[in-house]
């Protein structure tokens, strides 16, 4: 979830060409020493007061990670990462017990990002959408570097039996749930970055929606990397019991720095019978400057398991930030008649690279999936859609539809489409379509002849190009995402 109040300001300053979320908060921070080894993992685990089983779990993941190497199949290029040259734990020194004790600097930070952490501010309409209208309250878990600093609206949610807290807290308060589900969708040794995350994850959000409950408000986590030379390794776990519904949003920003910072998150979703999880991301990590210096390496593993019959998991992502994005939010469609969706907009401008897509693994009968991907490349950006649709022999009557469209702005960027389609079931039907084009000259002229500047015309046409995806976002966030798209493309025209 990007800055709300600030968005207006940002739009106003479009011509200045700056990343508006790039400020740094002066706050006393406690670090683990640089480096990655068993001691550091023990340190993190001890800091969090974790039970023995979790420490063991982390150490096993670490062992697995040591035997793995970075995946190199994605169409992204970056110099080797020195995994020993980073802090794996950074937390504000003053740890609040309640919202009233949250460091005022932190409150200010989140307010500046448009995310009031005080519930009364939401209720008082402090949070406004870019149109100036007050927003419906959203429950927020705010993660600052390695720790969750506040979670709002908990009491109201607890009335419904909903658990929304940081994962560290969940480990302490609901160990049986965490132990049952952690790593059940993304195994600790699933891939290089997931193994790294499993070894060193520091915080993240935990959501549990009990049977039959429709979560009354949007849940949201706001991630902020602040400290230097740190990575962020959050872990999110969402469990939707039978017949429940939840819509969850995540947003992220980071200060502008010349160094690259690593963000390697793992998100696991579990949907039981007839449950629906809608997971939306507006990813706005610092993308680096116009020459490609700095920016976040966003290497993320997100996967949802549709375990129950008629369950549904829907991923929507708007990826505008990060120097490199490597992520494939996926669905394992196990329950019969379960549904997986992936709606994605990815923009790469300047020297950004994105290799993103999804996997739809059809295991159960009559499972259905839809993939809509819109890639926009500008500047020297490289944008790749990479996706897998696999239909197993038992997925009788399964259906997939995939549409991947790429838009190129300028002749120094690249747009790539790499779908894998594997069908082992006769009665399944898989359809894939992809197109690549640029903004047509006559479209631009038509808009300009109606009075729009070239930049506005491009913004409008790009938003139109992305409409099928943006309409999947909760409404207020869609408006922000639209503005963000335009900002991300700034300087790409003319």
């Amino acid at each position: 979830m990007p800055a709300v109040n600030e968005t207006i300001e940002t739009v106003r300053s479009v011509t200045e060409g700056t990343y508006k979320w790039g400020f740094e908060t002066e706050i006393e921070t406690e670090f683990a020493p640089k480096g990655l080894n068993e001691d550091i993992i023990r340190f993190i685990s001890a800091k969090k007061g974790e039970p023995e089983w979790l420490l063991e779990w982390r150490l096993r993941a670490f062992k697995a990670w040591q035997a793995m190497s970075e995946p190199r199949w994605a169409a992204v290029r970056f110099p080797p990462i020195d995994y020993q040259d980073a802090h794996y734990y950074a937390a504000p020194k003053r740890r609040p017990k309640s919202l009233d004790e949250v460091d005022p600097e932190l409150l200010k930070t989140y307010a500046k990002l448009g995310i009031p952490l005080r519930e009364q501010e939401w209720l008082a309409g402090v949070a406004t959408s870019p149109d100036g209208a007050p927003r419906a309250p959203v429950a927020v878990d705010a993660v600052f570097d390695s720790v969750s600093v506040a979670t709002t609206f908990r009491e109201r949610l607890e009335k419904e039996g909903i658990i929304f807290c940081s994962i560290s807290e969940a480990v302490r308060e609901h160990p049986e749930l965490v132990r049952k589900y952690l790593g059940s969708v993304v195994p600790p040794a699933d891939n290089f970055y997931a193994a790294l995350n499993s070894a060193v994850f520091t915080d993240g959000s935990f959501v549990y929606i009990p049977k039959g409950v429709r979560c009354p408000m949007e849940l949201s986590t706001y991630f902020r990397i602040n400290a230097k030379s740190t990575g962020q390794f959050e872990r999110t776990l969402i469990i939707a019991e039978a017949g429940s519904y939840v819509s969850y949003l995540e947003g992220c920003t980071a200060p502008m720095r010349d160094e690259h910072q690593l963000h390697a998150a793992v998100v696991e979703l579990v949907a039981h019978d007839e449950a629906t999880i809608k997971y939306s991301t507006v990813q706005n990590w610092y993308p680096g400057d116009a020459e490609g210096r700095g920016g976040i390496y966003n290497f993320v593993t997100k996967r949802g398991a549709c375990r129950g019959a008629r369950s549904k998991i829907s991923w929507t992502q708007v990826e505008t930030g990060s120097a490199i994005t490597w992520k494939y939010p996926s669905c394992i469609l196990q329950g019969s008649d379960s549904v997986g969706e992936f709606y994605s907009v990815a923009i790469t401008n300047n020297f950004q690279q994105a290799d993103t897509g999804t996997k739809m693994i059809h295991l159960g009968p009559r499972t259905r999936s839809t993939i809509i991907s819109k890639g926009i490349s500008a500047g020297h950006g490289q944008n790749t859609y990479r996706g897998l649709v696999r239909i197993s022999p038992k997925a009788v009557g399964a259906r997939n539809f995939t549409q991947c469209d790429s838009l190129l702005i300028g002749d120094r960027c690249g747009a790539h489409t790499v779908p894998y389609i594997e069908n082992r079931c006769m009665s399944a039907k898989v359809e894939h379509e992809a197109t690549t084009s640029r903004i047509a000259e006559d479209q631009l002229f038509y808009c300009r002849s109606r009075g729009l500047s070239e930049e506005d015309a491009v913004g409008l046409i790009v938003n139109g190009f992305c409409r099928e995806v943006l309409k999947e976002l909760p409404m207020e966030f869609a408006v922000e995402a639209q503005k963000l798209l335009q900002i991300s493309l700034e300087g790409s025209v003319g």
Partner: protein, 249 residues
């Protein structure tokens, strides 16, 4: 006043306009007629500033201002509106969003306050009613899946909202049935007044029965070869362009 003097232009190196002189006093509606390939649409695009239509000589001024020096959006802000012969499709861009963005861009350029969503919707509904167009038209993507007639009506709707002072209508009548033609003509006639100037480009006289011009000019092979009153249009309808073409050749 629109003043075109000695205007020459080429497309892909090929001369199309070969010296056009034309003056439209403010408040008048003039028609430009001509056979296919005479340069009618080129004239429209040159006036609106389309890339690829290179002006090689002459001048165009609007109320004394050099129109050719302006970007397309600046011309729009200056009050120019081109109704396209082939309106462009913008997939995913809602008609309402498009119209509001355009209207506010122009209002901003003129130093007028922008309209918020509610104000705009009120205005748009009012204009739609005036043009007997369904409100559903605002929800659809710009021109996508519109019939030929709907596209033309959408152009007139845009004109009614943006309220230009100088409109260039490029074969707005082509592909219209008689009912749509009347709606389009009514839309234009409703705009007429001492502050509204228009250049109606057409192949046929038909439209001019509904939008009666003050003057008619005949364009053949990139030049105005004849000018006259509204009766000239009827004469052309009777006798065709052949004689004038032979004369010009």
């Amino acid at each position: 006043m629109l003043k075109i003097e000695g205007l020459t232009a080429e497309v892909e190196g090929k001369p199309i306009l070969k010296g056009i002189d034309l003056t439209v006093p403010t408040g008048e509606v003039h028609a430009v007629m001509g056979p296919n390939g005479s340069g009618k649409s080129t004239l429209a695009y040159v006036l609106a500033g389309r890339e690829g239509y290179a002006v090689t000589g002459g001048s165009v001024t609007w109320d004394g201002r050099d129109l050719l020096a302006l970007e397309p959006e600046e011309r729009a802000a200056a009050g120019l509106f081109l109704a396209f012969q082939y309106p462009v499709e913008l997939p995913g861009v809602g008609n309402a969003t498009f119209l509001r963005t355009a209207l506010n861009a122009i209002r901003r350029a003129r130093g007028e306050p922008e309209l918020d969503a509610m104000q705009f919707l009120r205005l748009a509904r009012e204009r739609l009613r005036a043009l007997s167009m369904p409100e559903e038209m605002l929800k659809r993507s710009v021109n996508v899946g519109f019939s030929g007639g709907e596209k033309k009506r959408n152009e007139i709707l845009q004109m009614a909202l943006l309220r230009p002072r100088l409109a260039v209508l490029d074969e707005t009548d082509s592909g219209l049935d008689i009912d749509a033609l009347r709606i389009v003509a009514d839309g234009v006639n409703a705009m007429r007044g001492p502050d509204f100037t228009a250049l109606v480009i057409t192949h046929y006289q038909r439209l001019l029965d509904h939008i009666v011009p003050d003057r008619v000019h005949v364009l053949v092979d990139g030049r105005i070869v004849r000018s006259g009153g509204p009766e000239l249009a009827r004469e052309l309808e009777r006798e065709g362009y052949a004689a004038l073409q032979a004369q010009a050749a």
